[in-house]
Symmetry: D2
């Protein structure tokens, strides 16, 4: 699962003081981290829905203490319960139906096995959708060892299903921090097997290899990284001259960006609010802080359902877009008293301050769709004069001395990660991008990629999009020779210059 | 008036064979021009509305043959009739009300006169809106000589008003090609006055200076160019090593692009169709060819008014966007028989072919919002078996032998230039961008700009946007020191990286 | 052409004192009229667009003074110039293309000639669209004599074309009041011909027959009336026991109402504003007074194009709908200072008062989409301290002593009648309804209709709708026998109870 | 909780053969019931969300076998567990925040106690929202005895809270049929207490009184009924001359209708689909069967979120509306192969037949938003060649022999009752309407209401709306005396004629 709309995880400490200074200049930096934390924040984010089918059986034995064998006799994996494999297989099959791009990739590329010889070590969420990715890589010829990038998000039955078919999976729901690194280590440090490709989501795997097994990089042809945090780390390494293999930044591909931000938020803002509060949207006064892609998606959906939306912005260009799209641009303090819902999408901190929380009206809902839990000053609400009342999962009423209640969702963390689901189609875009990036890096002729961070070639970005068009029964028009010549384009693309804004 | 959404004018012949080869690779090239044509296409485009107030008096004397003196005793101008100055002044005053950004610029910058010493020679459409620009430049300290970039578009009374206040204007509606170049020459070649700044729209003025008065460039600090064609010419010069002063490409600033394309087309597609055909939009089946910014604007407006819209695309990324925005993506041939309206927005040629025109149903409306008159194969309709019937200005019925009528608008030229008006606000964006570019180039410290083509600095792009926010009573939020630090931004911007997609 | 969205014309004086009292209780009454006026208000409304093709030749001879003969040798008509017939025929042919419902009615019913024997005297606007109606009636077997219901709206060339084919038309553009009644009289009072059906629009024809030729009613099988005013008059007659034949109120049929109000206004508000002011809609603050069908149409269109719309309402149910549809409900005085556009759609008087006009900001546009010219207190603006400046046709700047300008459109009359066009499709709905009503009344068995005012039977309303579905290539689903039984419906309708709200 | 959008329950057997014949002609009849069934269908509908907080404790003792006493010493009630009262109180308090109309009614009417002397026996869903209604009735002076209209929907803790404050409640979640009638009987048949008002939802209570205690009607001043089924029963009684007290049909009030259908479905279709399938709406091809209010709500929401929607209709007027709103009107068989989602909103039966289910593509989602479970021919899917797989609560995969899966939601029952929640605001509209109807009937002067079924007076309908406007901070405009006179209206309404369509 992707880190949606670019929330930056704080990096793990693996750089020197100079790096840190660089880091603090980075525009989307999420704040300095203490050195003592040794697991990345996204590794510990909670997920409400992804793992919803997972059993909460009372088997408290740690998977590390169990010996399990799959039906092929292999025990080179560590999951909660290999017996759940069949249930997990069904989940994977259901996901396959919505990930036809990967299935189509399997078909197109299966003959030639473009990943024959690839040994991929991967660290991602382990869900039905990533299982479809992993099994696609296998179908294309790769050998895979896999671990989880988040201690909560693993779907145990899916991990079991993967293990059953022979993928060496090391992951379960509810790992400890020690478990987390143990699993990564088991993936990398396998007897008689050495990875030549890395697929990472968050940079923890890459970090571990740098720290513990730097010699692995001698054979690695490339790293594919999809998270904002992980990408940031790679740029840091590159800047510091320490990146020793090519890396592909798949986070910033056009297709992925649009789906992770604009389209995904357009869908999930309604879902997140509805599942937590059963709110009626019609006629609600809503302020959305920030009119970037995330804010645009939220505003479009809310307006479409009859909410009366205004926005706050710091950037005059985005503000002008908001005006033209029919939203009043206001300062939060001007409107805060009237609002029914306050949504943050800025990537900034303290966008909603305690003073503003004090001025909200009774029943106001406050939530965050931005990239971290800093946008709402939740800490300021943990003070003695206020009473917290948990009314549902992810829903707290904060009660003022005069009885006023403010409804805080997901304690200010990302609403759509916490309280709604991500459509499989969005995950399909990401997974397909990852697969293509692996193929590209693995097969690139020597010299095409240096020890640097690359964006997915535009043509492959377009290819990802084209693989998803059949889902919509969409029919592309082809350029005639004459037209291609007139436009100065190749008939198969790329069709737009790099700076094109879409 | 801007050349909306990037239609490329063919360049005038001023380069050698090598240039031509370069030129033919350029993606937005509009086709080879014969050497014998010596005036640019956009110079001869017709404008239905811009000059709508202009008298069509039967005074047939050429302005070049008349002697006119303004009330200050000057005769250093050439307009249709200086006596129309008062009427023109009213038009300018009305325009000023909708161009508050320029008025605000006048106020903010008037004390320091940032253009004191600037001698600007300009070649643009001459309308009430450009008059507000010219008078702003004067208010900021510049001396101006001005001519028209189009032989039809001059509002005579506005030219008169400018001449009356002392601007040396050489322009009238209905110039001959000889007049056109004569006027440019009179602007450049003035006794005792030498330009040090050039503001061009289409590149004809720049071309003339290159050809006739190359020595002028010794004193020129920069060229500001706003049209796609003119910008293309400048890049050609730069590539050929012949650009001898810095040039600012204001065509590609974010603000201008969004307004010239997405927003402007959203407004003008409805207007253009309504004024020409009185069509009811509700329930109409429409195909829009091309889902770039122009197509997006058209589709949004038509869908909003109840039309049933599908699109054609060659680019899978744009196609995927269309799907997510709720439009079916089809091949033109699949749907052509059912369509009530066909709109081209591709920038390509023969997007609507004769074969497709043959298959359209009776009453189908065909028009073009793209960048040139090549998208619909209009030439193929000029054949003996078809009858043309002009039913209104800009509206032709093409009648097939079986009686079927296809309704062709503006003979396939740009619908919104020909059949609707451009909101003053859009022109204000462009004019403000031009003024800021002049100030920037004129005041830049030596060495900031070399002999190359530059985009407007992002911060100035944001400034243009901010100057237009008061029109919407929009209130920007300011970053606190703490927030700016957290984001790694300056409090006054720029707020986004250059690659940001808006 | 219909009187759109129910504007009430004042009635002509044809009733006694008691009637007047009844009249003044009527909810949509437009105010007491002086007895001395003898021509209805709508008869003198000006139309900007309907007659746009009409020549303004300098032939000043009154048609009443000319002798004209058509090619069949008949001179039983009176039009401006019979020689324009050919031009008018083309206009009619163009209209026929958009009125396929009537054309289809011609085909379906032609064999049986359901109007054989009908002698219809009609009084409507005389335009290409009504010509299609009249010629349909003739095709169905009727004999027709026709006159204009408005002294300005006749398209002379269309009248000529009708006269040429043998319809006895008495109408021209620019009739005097005396001409108006003379033409009506010539229609009714024809030697050897006595009407047995009346088709009226406004009630003037009906009034004349009542007043001058009451004996005609002995043979008349029914009156079909389409205007709010005319319908009101008929109800008054019925209430007073003076209605001596059945009358069909086609104004209140569902299909006509929805098209005349909601859909027509959704289309025309944008067109009317754009053609008069070239306003950009994006980001404009607009207040719409009244959220009935007209207001709903205006709000939907404006919001869709990016305007920020709020509404005023007196009715809490409509107000609640506005909220749910995403519009703030405000009092006009709360928002008047911020508005860019003020639109009235209430049917009430002085909704925009002088006090509110005084508080508007510079450049505010004020216009009326409601049913009369009373909604904006225009009279209050005709005072010495204010200057009126006509800047375009239908556009006045009202200038306050401090220089503030308010832009008044159409002097407060109906914007869409004055400044935009009505799509032919909307007129087709009305014309088809009229034709069906005539057929129903003419063929109804004795006793089905008494001396009362009737609504079009629901089934015929549905039939009108069904005749227009082919325009949209819409395919109705048919009930199976089993389904019809389950629903308790006949397979061919009617499908809804009378009180259904659609 | 209301029976949303008019689903008709089959009636209980309480009439003779003649009645049955009448009944079978009724258009919205849901089919003949066998005589042996003795509990109404809606009494047994399942509710997924309403009772979501309710404990599923393993206390299996029937409440009828327990003796419980509230803190005031009363035991005149029967609930699951009186100790849950405090938890239920909190639920009620939360609901009060969203039901400000009732709270406002309490305040306005409390002084005069308009229900002083009223003895109300009620049978509704027992939820936090109905508790607010019941306690409002008490606050206005009424004595209340209450029971549940559905055996599953009672929130036990809310019932406990009501019992604790002294309302005689007889209801728990999971009643047997015998329990159901026992509870009703305990409400009606109370020693020393005789009801004089009945508030019913579904008609079971009314039926019981008719059957067992007909003498009660001697004192009853009126019945208030809110369900389609119950209303239908009352009209049947009235027709048969057996209705012996006035009854108020609150189901058909304008405000309730719009909220129960158009607005509620606009909100719940997205929620219901998302919670069950996590579907992404963008680009999905959806067919909505039926374009009544329910269909209109569904289509608006889906289109707004980027789905490509077409509709099927039998009624040409609704079909024409669909066209004008931008939806293609098709026959189901034309499009069924391409659809991603099929939604029924017709009120009819077998709208989606087995043949059509056979032709659906793999992964197609099928669900029902109409009034009963007959619209999709679910029975036809229960055949040996198809495999059913329950993948989540309310989600079944029906698997064809070739592996094709169709995703059936809620087994074809109402999606929004089964799989989404109803906003409290919608319930507030209904509850307020019920309270006002009780006040009206209880206080009406003798003779105002006869033994018939009445609609809520329009003025009270407007009053319900006005009580809900403060939720939106909406400010009504008041008519001036002059305006009221001009319009022929009273300043306080009613503002529209009865036939007005809103």
């Amino acid at each position: 699962m992707a880190h949606k709309h670019g929330h930056v995880r704080d990096r793990i400490q693996f750089a020197n003081a100079e790096d840190k200074q660089e880091f603090s200049k980075y525009p989307t930096k999420a704040g300095r981290r203490s050195l003592s934390r040794s697991i990345s924040q996204s590794s510990t984010d909670s997920y409400s829905s992804a793992a919803s089918y997972t059993d909460s059986s009372d088997d408290e034995t740690s998977p590390r203490d169990k010996t399990q064998v799959n039906s092929q006799g292999s025990s080179d994996f560590c999951v909660k319960n290999i017996k759940q494999a069949e249930f997990g297989r069904r989940e994977i099959e259901i996901a396959e139906q919505d990930m036809s791009a990967l299935m189509s990739l399997r078909k197109r590329a299966q003959g030639e096995k473009p990943l024959a010889g690839a040994k991929v070590v991967g660290c991602t969420h382990i869900t039905a959708q990533t299982a479809v990715l992993i099994e696609t890589l296998v179908a294309l010829g790769a050998q895979c060892r896999w671990t989880a990038c988040n201690i909560y998000s693993t779907q145990n039955e899916v991990a079991a299903a993967l293990a059953e078919t022979g993928v060496s999976v090391f992951a379960w729901k509810g790992e400890s921090e020690d478990d987390f690194w143990w699993c990564i280590d088991r993936c990398v440090n396998a007897a008689g097997w050495q990875a030549n490709m890395i697929l990472d989501d968050g940079g923890d795997l890459t970090h571990w290899v740098y720290k513990k097994y730097p010699s692995v990089f001698k054979k690695v042809r490339g790293i594919v990284e999809e998270s904002v945090t992980g990408v940031h780390r790679l740029y840091q390494l590159s800047k510091a001259g320490k990146l020793c293999v090519p890396a592909m930044n798949v986070n910033d591909s056009v297709t992925k960006q649009k789906f992770d931000n604009l389209y995904c938020c357009r869908e999930s803002i309604l879902d997140g609010l509805k599942r937590t509060t059963d709110i009626m949207f019609g006629g609600k006064q809503v302020v959305v802080c920030g009119y970037g892609e995330v804010g645009k998606g939220c505003c479009a959906a809310l307006k479409a359902l009859g909410a009366i939306v205004c926005i706050t912005e710091i950037d005059p260009i985005c503000a002008l877009q908001a005006c033209m799209d029919g939203f009043r641009v206001v300062k939060l303090s001007e409107v805060i008293r009237q609002m029914d819902v306050v949504i943050t999408c800025t990537g900034n901190k303290n966008v909603v301050s305690r003073e503003q929380l004090d001025r909200m009206k009774n029943g106001c809902i406050v939530c965050n769709m931005g990239h971290s839990n800093t946008e709402i000053d939740v800490a300021s609400l943990r003070s003695p004069e206020l009473t917290w009342e948990r009314v549902r999962s992810q829903v707290d009423h904060i009660i003022w001395p005069d009885g006023k209640r403010v409804i805080l969702l997901a304690e200010g963390r990302l609403l759509n990660l916490s309280c709604s689901t991500v459509p499989t189609f969005v995950l399909s875009i990401t997974a397909t991008t990852q697969a293509l990036a692996l193929i590209e890096l693995f097969n690139a002729p020597e010299g095409r990629y240096k020890q640097d961070v690359y964006l997915l070639p535009k043509k492959m970005d377009e290819y990802v999009a084209s693989l998803h068009l059949p889902n919509f029964d969409a029919h592309l028009t082809e350029l005639s020779d004459e037209q291609a010549k007139y436009m100065g384009l190749h008939k198969n693309g790329p069709f737009k210059p790099n700076y094109y804004r879409y």
